[in-house]
Symmetry: C2
Subunit: 222 residues, 2 copies
């Protein structure tokens, strides 16, 4: 696979979306799709889709469209979800447990090898095939098992110290649900922030904006 240097982050952020739509197509039994039809379903332009995929060497044959299963598989390889980067969850409160229970990390490039919390009433709780461990032992655990990724769902006040500790223990990527944004402080570390409250506030803005414009809502049927 030929890959351009420095693919932009916005292209990269669309790749999981292609992967998701292609999985939907596979479930519907569709084996081949034109960029035009894919664009209609995804709400992108066909030219955008061709441009995006060309960043990775292009797929499909002129006039024949894309082979859905092949494209799905190759995008998966580009994303690296065939890897198994060792990962831990730090913070097993409501959000941490929901994440650990709802995501099949092994299908997304990660092997979940540990879950930690500070709360004695949560320590010892079984979550899938793991047991919540005392965060006091996280240093020894990391020195032994070398997790590369941490899902950080601790409180804002605990996040700064925990992030620094984990970075020094060799963690180089974070899925960060804490309200502490450390991507600026550690520019060499990968931090994928999930600021759910930012998303909720954006929704609030859009709903307010819609109300103010008094736009009527069109319900399209197809």
């Amino acid at each position: 696979m030929l890959k351009k240097e420095n693919v932009s982050l916005s292209v990269i952020r669309r790749l999981p979306r292609y992967h998701r739509f292609l999985a939907d197509l596979m479930r519907s039994g569709i084996t081949r799709i034109s960029s035009k039809e894919l664009s209609r379903r995804m709400g992108l332009t066909a030219s955008q889709i061709r441009q995006d995929l060309n960043c990775f060497g292009g797929f499909g044959q002129q006039g024949y469209g894309y082979n859905v299963e092949q494209l799905h598989r190759e995008i998966g390889v580009i994303l690296g979800i065939d890897k198994q980067y060792p990962a831990i969850v730090v913070g097993a409160g409501n959000i941490g447990r929901a994440i650990a229970l709802n995501f099949d990390f092994s299908q997304m490039g990660f092997e979940m090898i540990g879950i930690f919390d500070i709360n004695p009433s949560i320590i010892g709780m079984p979550i899938r095939d793991l047991t919540v461990a005392d965060v006091a032992g996280i240093e020894a655990f990391c020195q032994k098992h070398h997790p590369r990724i941490a899902v950080l769902t601790v409180s804002r006040s605990a996040a700064a110290e925990m992030a620094e500790k984990l970075i020094h223990l060799g963690v180089s990527g974070f899925w960060n649900f804490s309200h502490y944004d450390f991507s600026v402080k550690y520019p060499g570390v990968i931090v994928e922030n999930v600021h759910l409250s930012d998303s909720l506030m954006t929704l609030c803005y859009m709903v307010k904006d819609l109300s103010e414009k008094g736009t009527s809502i069109e319900v399209l049927k197809d």
Copy 2:
């Protein structure tokens, strides 16, 4: 407050981030900040910050910086988080419960008025000051209480039908955690998608990309 027409979505998406950083400054007792210092903390350029805020008529005085508390409050008003749009959670599984338990919706523009699920072992469960209700009663509930917003955390297979039903019952904004993307189908409805698995796959790509480039990780101290 003077507001430009058609503020771009990328500006809007930065507003909650400003709001968050300003709240941090308030917690640290900082009352006034220059766009330069704010830009350093946020990892944006000072010119970007001035441009963004100018979309809403501008704040702050040349040479004096921004009044932190005032800017925080005014951004909150722009976002509409002083409103109380009636909202419901549909799907009270792990993710739905974690969302309902962890977010103070009333601080983000919403009043949570109902939580629904289909699972008899979850129906009746207390969550904050609400009780999980049977989703069979959702139509009657909506006709009586007119929720404007739904947090959708049902399965992909249930999402299409549920979204359509809720839209016809007057719901005009969705915080969508389901894996079904209906924003293309209903262009007049506000759909704020939270595709956590897209975020996780993006993290995977970035970690893989970092490994392949063999970039050493610089830990900056400040």
